[in-house]
Subunit: 306 residues, 3 copies
Amino acid sequence: MKITGTFLDEISHDIPHQNWGREEWDRDFAAMKSIGIDTVILIRCGHRRFITYPSKFLMEHEGCYRPPVDLVDLFLELAEKYGMTFYFGLYDSGKYWHNRECEREMEISRAVADEVWSLYGNRKAFGGWYLNFEVSRASAGIIELYAGMGRHVKQLSGNLPTMISPYIDGIKAIGDVGVKDDSIGVTQHEQEWNAILKGIQGAVDIVAFQDGHCDYHELADYLRINKKLTDRYGMTSWTNCETFDRDMPIRFLPIKWEKMLLKLEAARAAGIEKAITFEFSHFMSPNSCYRAAGHLFDRYREHFSL
Amino acid sequence: MKITGTFLDEISHDIPHQNWGREEWDRDFAAMKSIGIDTVILIRCGHRRFITYPSKFLMEHEGCYRPPVDLVDLFLELAEKYGMTFYFGLYDSGKYWHNRECEREMEISRAVADEVWSLYGNRKAFGGWYLNFEVSRASAGIIELYAGMGRHVKQLSGNLPTMISPYIDGIKAIGDVGVKDDSIGVTQHEQEWNAILKGIQGAVDIVAFQDGHCDYHELADYLRINKKLTDRYGMTSWTNCETFDRDMPIRFLPIKWEKMLLKLEAARAAGIEKAITFEFSHFMSPNSCYRAAGHLFDRYREHFSL
Amino acid sequence: MKITGTFLDEISHDIPHQNWGREEWDRDFAAMKSIGIDTVILIRCGHRRFITYPSKFLMEHEGCYRPPVDLVDLFLELAEKYGMTFYFGLYDSGKYWHNRECEREMEISRAVADEVWSLYGNRKAFGGWYLNFEVSRASAGIIELYAGMGRHVKQLSGNLPTMISPYIDGIKAIGDVGVKDDSIGVTQHEQEWNAILKGIQGAVDIVAFQDGHCDYHELADYLRINKKLTDRYGMTSWTNCETFDRDMPIRFLPIKWEKMLLKLEAARAAGIEKAITFEFSHFMSPNSCYRAAGHLFDRYREHFSL
């Protein structure tokens, strides 16, 4: 079960920035390519006031700062150069949908998608959309948000595939700190996600659950349920293999290779179609500012003889 | 708006030590010089029991540890070698002035200043004093502390310039954790700092507010007020551009270049005279233990064609 | 007072993993050797479900994961290659003895020791046992645990030496966060540890207190008491010189050289026989992912002219 896709963590809200320019990004796309990565997913095109491309709409309506570089343009260019498919992650206001104002969030998100498609829709590498609303349960409004945005961007772009990456309400799903005593468990997970997937059928093509919120020995069970549910609704199951370590006091540094391997094995056992990661450039790259990431890259290549 | 000064973070209370020796410091002063830094400011000569030079007074009266290296001597030597002006930061007991014992703090601080001037006052690079008491508001005793120490060291040293570096009581001014809902706002900021600057006129020459405690789009307003107030009292306004990122869970790693640029632009718009940073060696240097600092250095040089 | 031993932090529960393979470990043992390290101590052979060698017992009875590499085998091989003595750290369930089920912990620990001795007891470098239960006070059951396990492994292995590494209940002994106002103080420390050492006489040979939980100027007093007590019961006193910095908000990065030196001087003054560290590979090694560790290595070598 090899990693063949990665998120691009621009804009981040909790991972410190590496301050890369064009040259550094080019070198990192080459490193991705060298281990078989064919898909890159911009995790979001903006968060609060920071944005990845000079969005006229967001600067005018949400007070966003004009970015010094057009990263969407850069990533599309590099994706094309290295023969990769680029997924575009929508805008996250950081407030509206978190405060039950999903309608307002969707209004902005639609306008951003329209603008983006008119600016970059003709680019060769533009191959899909990432609906960047991350939830673990059937919270109020999430079905409408996924379904509404999924349908909108598919219609806009000639039915390009759409992806979501939810998380499991496991023992590590408590903000960024520690471990909680209980989780909703596999039965309730199945019930709630059955309802969600049913409600977003036709609007969402790919479900890539984050794999870091439950214990390692619990993961295979969750992945099997996820696979069963996506099969039921004609969707595709990917796994989002987190390459940062959720078990350490420093939040976050690269994961221990043994843990990553356990998670990939669980995904393979569950028949998951494709593995992507959050994310290569900080946590698994020889170019990362964290040296343990380069060693993870080496262990990964050794294991798969790459 | 280029960075032409930096703090030297010895002794630190919250930034992990890089364990540099003479050779590493020399290399870092060369890197500073290469981008036009002409001013270095020792943030404090001691904190609690750790001190930067073998102070007979502090070892005898405050139980301080004898340092393995005389960093004041080393920094003065390197400042002279690279043609820089050195500001000397006073001692911070870490207890007296924090516990409303400003008189005791001042007594110690005066003795330290006297000792330092007798030891290093003849050194060519010794060009000013940093009054290292950092406050955001008109807290009890701070006017007396700034004014008393400012007058003392100016008299001692033939009127060498004195600097303070307060912070703004903005949404990020809550210890080291998270964001608070309110701040005192620009109106009250102006009132309180008008009172403080009025009270320390003649004793303090340079006011270099830290620029990291309010949101990026709020900064220009605060800086304009700061400039208006320092103009009113015949002082000089510098900006202390923080090069670490206050928005991340790891406290602290290098700032995102885009954020730094926003802050420098705000300082330029407000007519600030000079930009210094806290601080080059950890957060902006190619020699830093944090690799993202080297990339920040590269982005900074690209932007200013250095 | 030179460092001549180091823990090997596999498996860690709070230090992020470096993802080293055979080549990286070999290089690091060479670096250890270069400064005179002759003793390596595996801090534990397993923690919860993660283990260092493919223990049939732990995989069957405790649901442990099969490790991708046999680290015990690797470390024994490298210890032999570099002429070092290897101490084997017992298993830590992470639950039983923490929840007053010392009997259950001991049952598992005995089985693991038996298995380990049958697998690796014939290896040339296998030179001792580390009883990895870390306490600061005479907590319920700890005497029985130390004594029971110490006697068991000594009997098993022809009386190989046993070591413990407790910590001082000082101002920094409050989990991983901050500083507390009080500690039990030297008098009660002496009373409680007198009782513990008396109770484990004959079962434990070496007591290597961790040196990071009290303030620097308090350490010598504690070490003198430790030395007096171990002398009384015919044991050997080592110091476990922590090379990570407990005073910083990032938990944990390499310690400031000055602090390390203060602690080594205190150990020398107290007549401690040998200094080991927790631990070389992350915090003091030129190969560490933390660059400040390499600089600490340089400062250390300069000081001792190594």
